[in-house]
Symmetry: C2
Subunit: 284 residues, 2 copies
Amino acid sequence: MAREARYARLRRIIELTRRIATAPGRLYSLAELSAATGAARSTLSEDITLIDDVLQEKGLGVVETVTGAAGGVRFRAGFSAPHAEDLAQALAVELSDPDRIIPGGFLYMTDVIFSPHWSERIGTLFAGRFQSEAADMVLTMETKGIPLALMTARSLGVPLAVARRESRVTEGPAIGLNYVSSSGRIGTMSLPRRALPAGSRVLVVDDFLKGGSTVRGLVELCQELGAACVGIASLCETPSEDKYLPAPQFSVLRLDAVDEHLRRVQLGPSESFQHYLEEARNHA
Amino acid sequence: MAREARYARLRRIIELTRRIATAPGRLYSLAELSAATGAARSTLSEDITLIDDVLQEKGLGVVETVTGAAGGVRFRAGFSAPHAEDLAQALAVELSDPDRIIPGGFLYMTDVIFSPHWSERIGTLFAGRFQSEAADMVLTMETKGIPLALMTARSLGVPLAVARRESRVTEGPAIGLNYVSSSGRIGTMSLPRRALPAGSRVLVVDDFLKGGSTVRGLVELCQELGAACVGIASLCETPSEDKYLPAPQFSVLRLDAVDEHLRRVQLGPSESFQHYLEEARNHA
């Protein structure tokens, strides 16, 4: 009997961990978890405290309790300072590989950006960095921004909107704008009106931040639709010239130089990343 | 002491569940799990059996044991028949909403396709359907295919490659081809050579399957790079005219009609989905 009860608790812990850890940002009511596991709410609370404890100890986030009638528990995903640092280091090593140098002084990053393995961890890092901004939407520009933005939205538990170069007849009324890209060309971006509700708090995500014109365009799209940009996250930036950005900005890496002849890539943690790391260490 | 030991086991079960359930397709060696939890391998096996048992009971997949020197355990994600049916039903209800009708007889599906909530579950369904084909890459065409393809790749634990309309200077040597789209226009698609290794077993994923020309183009890209297409998965298809497809094909839904004037959407589970459901029921 005692053995049976122990197995029941182990099984319940497995099911609770599975639900909570695989659905960050999702609010589970205790009634829902109680129905799913057949356990009383008081028992559940003890289990959830233990799960929170392990997730915090592993540096993966916090299971927060929301009180009140619409209350419950919610996993706020994000990396501790050591995890964040490990990820930035691993990314820097991976992306500094001289085999990534493309004729013309470019760096091949597409496989990393499109990889579920990397994009999921980068998304968790972004979510943790902007957790306090209470974003309820993520917005990006097609194409290479999509995987990081999707994984960030997943980690925050919020929807994703994607601006496109042209408006599509299949997506209904759209808001469009022109912008001057960092290479001096005029680009257009378009977003279906229904993709971004007025009043949204929007986290803008992109893979690469150069002059910032794409990101400024996305922020302008937000404003046109009555939404507010609460942050800008990118995987990699170039050294700042005169990069005016209308919201708090965070990059993991800064790409300083790609030397085709010496076959050398100069790339490391960005200033905003180092600043974030310091803050995270002070809070720990 | 007994209480301490029990907490130790509960904490270990939480950590193991977290690792296994959040990284489908990833092979964990027992040595790695042993180092991460401080438990002996024999103890771990018992815990893993219990986790497998709960995941199977919940209809979410199987924790498979790989024997041999490079062995370990791996979570093979996929939905049981009841879960798959629930998902198809929920998608059909969501997408049949007359408010989704766009002037011209189109259906607005973008929010569902870009949603982490939906795309993750659709990706798990695709992964389960094609688990036996042992795909080691997922391939899609920009833009709307990306979220479903990324989540499918995540559920299989394999990388993602994305074909683009134009080749980019930042991505190095690319293979390109022209194809005639279902609307009769000539399209181009391009894939960096290094994105898809020769010998890959490729699962092609797209959001919408109409005439099949995009998907046939993607399969041709595979062949040009010495890779093999082992399956084709899409969220939604139109009724088949003469859709020749060079690999096993699977769609969740079939869109039969969008009536702008009656404000009615005719849409339901596809034939390939119903066939899959039957097979899954017979195996259960």
